[in-house]
Amino acid sequence: MDALQGSWSPWISGLLIGLMVPGLYLIVGRRFGISSSLRHIGAICAPNVKAEYIRMHNWRNHTWSLIFVGGVVIGSLVATQLFTADPLPVLPDEASSIGGVLRLAFGGLLVGFGTRYAGGCTSGHTISGISNLNPASMVATAAFFAGGLIATWGLTFLIF
C-alpha cells in the first residue's frame, strides 16, 4: 500500500478517470455524468413541486446514478482512511466559518443552476461529451473555464 500513500500522478489519475467513460458505458450501460444526480436528489426531497422538470421526473429510473455518487462519497472516505498518511487540506480553514459556509452554499447554487442549465458538468460535458466529440460539450467546456476565469480574476471578493 506504500505506493498509494502520496498524491497520485496526474497522468495516471487522468487515465483512470478517462476509463470511467467506456467502463460505465460498457459494463453498467450508462453514460458517465454526475450533475444529473442533483435532479434525482431534488425529485426525492420534493416530488410535488410545481416545476415540470422535477414533477415529471421519475428518479426511480435513475437509481444507478444515486448509487454511483454514493460510491464516490465512500471511495473518497476509503482513500482518506486506508491509504493516506497525511490527510489533504481539502478546503481552506475559512470554509468552516459561517461566512465560508454561506459562500460555499452560494457557489453551490451557481454550480447546481449552471450545470443543469448547461445539461452537464465537468464529467458529463468535458469528459464524456468531448470523448464523444460532441460540439455542444466543447462549447460548454469553454464556458465553464471562462466562468472560472471571470470569478478568479474579476470577482476576487468571492474567492477563498
Binding site: 498524491s7 497522468w11 489519475s13 487522468g14 483512470l16 478517470i17 478517462g18 470511467m20 467513460v21 467506456p22 458505458y25 460498457l26 453498467v28 450501460g29 454526475i34 442533483l38 435532479r39 431534488g42 413541486v49 422538470y53 422535477i54 435513475h62 446514478s65 448509487i67 454511483f68 455518487v69 454514493g70 460510491g71 464516490v72 462519497v73 471511495g75 473518497s76 482513500a79 482518506t80 481539502v90 478546503l91 470554509a95 460555499l104 457557489g107 453551490g108 447554487l109 451557481l110 454550480v111 443552476f113 449552471g114 450545470t115 442549465y117 448547461a118 445539461g119 460535458h125 461529451g129 464523444n132 460540439p135 455542444a136 464556458a143 465553464f144 466562468g147 472560472g148 470577482l155 477563498f160
Partner: protein
C-alpha cells in the same frame, strides 16, 4: 404514473449486479478524485490562475483516453456486457450550454468543486462541502422553476 412510464429512461433496465458495478465505479472515481487532489481547493485555484499544470494534465489525459475509447466503441459497434446498444446520449446544443456553463464556472471557482468532487469532498470529511451540496440542489430547484422562461 402512466405518463411517467413513457418518459425516456437512461437506457435498458439494469441487472441487479450492474448496480454493484455502478457502486464500484463510484468508489473508484471517489478514490481517484481524492488521491489526485482534484478535490483540493488549492489545485482548482492554481488551475484558474495558470500556476500549475496538474489539473490540465488530469483533464487532458481523461479526454485523451476517452476519445480513442469511444472511437473504438463506435467503430466496432461494441455492445454493452448485457448485449444492448451503448447509450451515447450526449446533451444537445442550446443557449444554456453557454449561459449555464458560465454560471457553473463561476460557482466552480468559488466552491473549488464541480459536482463529482462535492461528493468526494464530503466523503473525505470536509463537511463544509455539505453546504455546497445543499446549495447545488437548491440551484437545481431554481433552474427547475425558471426553466420555462429561460432561453434554451
Amino acid at each position: 404514473m402512466e405518463i411517467l412510464e413513457k418518459l425516456p429512461t437512461p437506457g435498458p433496465k439494469l441487472r441487479p449486479w450492474q448496480y454493484g458495478a455502478a457502486f464500484t465505479f463510484g468508489v473508484f472515481f471517489g478514490a481517484v478524485l481524492y488521491k489526485s487532489e482534484v478535490i483540493r481547493w488549492e489545485r482548482i485555484h492554481a488551475m484558474f490562475r495558470f500556476e500549475e499544470l496538474h489539473m490540465y494534465i488530469i483533464i487532458g489525459m481523461a479526454i485523451a483516453v476517452g476519445i480513442p475509447s469511444m472511437w473504438l466503441i463506435k467503430r466496432f459497434e461494441a455492445r454493452t456486457v448485457t448485449g444492448d446498444e451503448v447509450p451515447i446520449k450526449d446533451p444537445p446544443f442550446q443557449r444554456g450550454v453557454i449561459y449555464g456553463g458560465l454560471i457553473f464556472g463561476i460557482g466552480w471557482a468559488i466552491t473549488a468543486a464541480c459536482p463529482g468532487p462535492i461528493y468526494a469532498q464530503i466523503g473525505s470529511g470536509a463537511f463544509p462541502a455539505v453546504a455546497t451540496l445543499v446549495g447545488a440542489v437548491g440551484g437545481m430547484f431554481i433552474y427547475a422553476a425558471l426553466r420555462p422562461r429561460l432561453p434554451h
